[in-house]
Amino acid sequence: MGAEQFDQTYPKFEPRIVVFCCNWCSYAGADLAGVSRYQYPPGVRIVRVMCSGRVEPVFIFDAFKNGADGVIVAGCHPGECHYVSGNLNAERRVENTRKALEYLGLGAERLRLEWISASEGMKFAEVMREFTEEIKELGPSPVKSRVDVKNPKS
């Protein structure tokens, strides 16, 4: 299976972005973006976790394995994490994962950490648009051509 398979579904390259959002700030920020109708491309998918500190590297690698071109881990601003310091754990973890991605040849730029509060709907949409553009420049994730995404899903 080659990259053509993707091209059938998305004829032009529409980057697929996965955002892990913490429930308290970033998920609410994403909701606010919606309520305010700040648009961003539909290639963006949100996975809700309670805190950004919950996001393990495995989730991020899995996202790439399953067709993501870019991943964002979004949490509350430092000092504002609903669970005190989960976001600081996330920060460290994302930093390390970025190194691993670089090493694996995916490029650290495909993973980002963002602080987005519940009131930053505008920022949420802006970050999504900007990151999508950035990934467009980078091109599709090199992992994609090697994984059969149509099959085992469970």
Binding site: T9, R16, V18, N23, W24, C25, Y27, A28, A30, D31, A33, G34, V35, R37, Y38, Q39, Y40, P41, P42, V44, R45, I46, V47, R48, V49, M50, C51, G53, R54, V55, E56, V58, F59, D62, A63, N66, G67, A68, C76, G79, E80, C81, H82, Y83, V84, S85, G86, N89, R93, S117, A118, S119, E120, A125, V149, K150, P152, K153, S154
Partner: protein, 658 residues
């Protein structure tokens, strides 16, 4: 009756059109048709409003008819509607944690209004993610915790006082913590209050006394909350009591000490006008009516052996041996009402404030107007102590301005400045008043009439934000502004300029928000749980907000919020118990006892059992963030409801469109 059967998932998918909110963009029927093809899905249903009575009945009917044990709702956002559908599921015998909520409105149809095809495709992806996750969900139980019957109220302005009084009258013990030496807050400093122009302290004073008399209220003035631990129903609060250097039991508030104190400090209660001693009584109506010594300005802090106040006090109440003290209290609920401050024009010297003697803020003007103020109610200007004949009031200073603060003070400042103009004009009809405004916001009952009254008595309204104020050699000021209604630039000479400064967050808000984890909105003020339906709730269980700290408010609004917060809090206090989420951490026997998670836990909810060489979770302390699960190198630590396999099921199905 639990419908959970081992190994057999029977999933129902319910797609909501949300009127046209979703249905107008996403092809909901197509999404439902697609959902029906997914493994485990035994029925699908599309509703116009799934959250309505009939929509919920439809879910319950399907649950019974198809013997469902998993429910996927594809609708708006779980932030607002998950509780609704959880109850709906429980009622029909499906454990509430077997509900999976898929957000296809806020994060799909509203996001991609012009891309119907893309939005529909995305909605299908999202539903698929939800279905695969739902398959792996497990039933959980909420745990019940007892609620301590005491309440903590932070801030004793008019909102906090109202909240304390309502709770006290209901029979609950209230700790009312106020940072200043007296309760009363901002309202105690106002001269008259709009739109009726009644005397502020005359209506507030009796209320303050009532608070003090209420036997269920424990006033802790000159004190600050410095630490809050625990969770809904069981907060442990540390309060710092600043030393007054006055024995509060002996002091009668006679102010003899204040009279004898040789120090002169700008009088903060009068907005820095006039002077007070280092020993002083905050103001004549203060509650508690007790003296306080601010050691910072006292001669003793310079090492001098001044005994003026000690000698003056007949009751021997002065006590310089007092020290900062800490006390701990327990409370089931917390009401936060720290209030607001007005914008400070000094750092930027807006309109020459801080440079020109005759430019003052409206709060300062308020104190000048007050009969108990520094000038006994005579408005005079600083440069020559003369009573001004021509005054210029400028609205929206430090609000609706991209350079300082873009937010509007919600009409409060319009009314505030207008009121002060009216008060002086009515006292001295011979003066001329100009009021510069961008828009007049007079939103509530009696406010429009108040505005009309201002015009009738001859206050001249000039529509336009002044570009600058220029000082003349004689201290007079020229206000330069474009009159946008006439389309001309006007230079108006006045004797005194009064700046209507906007409402900005209190410096304590940041501290409190960090301490309690209350999110703040773009204007820096507290964010309520829902801007319409949860105006005094916060996202935190057992924590409520009231008054100017969650948006600019006038007095009636602040009072209503105080009462509102009290009644929201009372629900918990009356029942004496509350439920807490079942989403907590759990470890299994594969734990290798490395202890990495113990260090990562922000709450200290994990302990390493040395004997078993395994980490244990203390359920009541765990708040369910999942940091430990992410830290665990062997996958022995799991976060319930967000288990590895559950999240991975979503991740695996992110994009692959079958």
């Amino acid at each position: 009756m639990e419908k959970e059967k081992e190994g057999e998932e029977r999933i129902g998918v319910f797609v909501c059109r949300c009127g046209v909110n979703i249905g107008g963009v996403v092809d909901c029927d197509e999404v439902a048709r697609y959902a029906a093809t997914l493994p485990g899905v035994v029925c699908v249903s599309v509703n116009k409003f799934t959250c309505s009575d009939s929509g919920q009945a439809d879910i319950q009917e399907h649950i019974h008819k198809y013997n469902l044990n998993r429910v996927v709702v594809a609708a708006c956002t779980p932030k607002t509607h998950e509780p609704t559908f959880r109850v709906c599921c429980e009622e029909a015998g499906v454990n509430q944690y077997l509900l999976e909520f898929v957000n296809i409105r806020d994060q799909c149809s509203w996001m991609h209004i012009w891309n119907h095809e893309g939005a529909t495709k995305k909605a299908k992806d999202l539903v698929r993610m939800g279905v695969y996750r739902a398959k792996l969900l497990e039933p959980l139980e909420e745990s019940e915790v007892a609620v301590d019957r005491n309440a903590l109220v932070i801030g004793a302005g008019v909102a906090g006082m109202q909240a304390a009084m309502d709770l006290g009258d209901m029979g609950f013990h209230v700790y009312l913590v106020e940072k200043e030496p007296s309760i009363g807050g901002r309202m105690a400093r106002f001269d008259k209050v709009f739109p009726t122009n009644d005397c502020s302290i005359c209506i507030l004073g009796p209320k303050m006394v009532e608070v003090a008399r209420n036997e269920n209220i424990e006033i802790m003035s000159y004190a600050e909350v410095v630490e809050v631990e625990g969770f809904v129903g069981n907060f442990e609060i540390t309060i710092e009591h600043k030393p007054r250097y006055v024995d509060i039991d002996k002091c009668t508030g006679c102010a003899q000490c204040a009279g004898k104190c040789p120090v002169e400090v700008p009088y903060d209660f009068n907005e820095g006008f006039g002077i007070r001693g280092a020993a002083y009584v905050p103001f004549p109506q203060a509650v508690p009516l007790r003296a306080v010594i601010d050691l910072e300005n006292c001669l003793r802090s310079e090492g001098k052996e001044c005994k003026a106040c000690i000698k003056a006090c007949e009751r021997g109440a002065i006590d310089f041996s007092q020290e900062k003290k800490y006390s701990k209290v327990k409370a089931g609920v917390i009401i936060v009402a720290p209030g607001f401050v007005t914008y400070d024009p000094e750092p930027r010297n807006d309109y020459g404030y801080g440079l020109y003697d005759n430019v003052i803020t409206t709060m300062e003007f308020e104190r000048l107007l007050n009969a108990a103020g520094p000038t006994e109610g005579h408005v005079i200007r600083a440069s020559d102590c003369k009573e001004p004949m021509r005054l210029g009031f400028i609205n929206c200073v430090g609000s609706r301005d991209i350079k300082t603060n873009v937010h509007c003070s919600g009409g409060v400042c319009c009314m505030f400045n207008m009121k002060n103009a009216i008060l002086l004009k009515e006292k001295r009809p011979e003066i001329s008043c100009y009021l510069f405004y961008m828009d007049i916001r007079a939103p509530f009952r009696g406010y429009e009439e108040f505005y009309n009254r201002a015009r009738e008595i001859g206050i001249r309204f000039v529509r336009g934000r002044p570009s600058e104020v220029i000082e003349k050699a004689n201290g007079n000021l020229v206000i330069r502004a474009e009159d946008t209604l006439k389309g001309v630039v006007r230079n108006i000479e006045v004797d005194l300029v009064v700046l209507g400064t906007g409402i900005v967050p209190h410096s304590d808000i940041e501290k409190i928000s960090k301490m309690l984890k209350i999110p703040r909105a773009a204007d820096g003020l507290f964010m309520e749980a829902h801007p319409k339906l949860g105006p005094v709730d916060t996202v935190l269980g057992g924590v409520f907000v009231a008054g100017g700290a969650s948006g600019p408010k006038d007095i009636p609004f602040a009072v209503a919020q105080g009462s509102g917060a009290a009644s929201r809090a009372a629900r918990l206090l009356v029942t004496g118990k509350t439920k807490i989420e079942g989403i907590t951490a759990a470890s299994d026997e594969s734990c290798i006892g490395c202890g990495l998670c113990v260090d990562a836990c922000p709450y200290g909810a994990l302990t390493l059992d040395e004997k078993e060489n395994r980490v244990m979770v203390v359920g009541a302390i765990c708040k369910g963030c999942g940091t430990c699960a992410a830290t665990c190198p062997v996958g022995a630590m799991e976060q319930r409801h967000f288990k590895n396999v559950q999240v991975e099921a979503q991740v695996k199905n992110l994009f692959a469109l079958a």
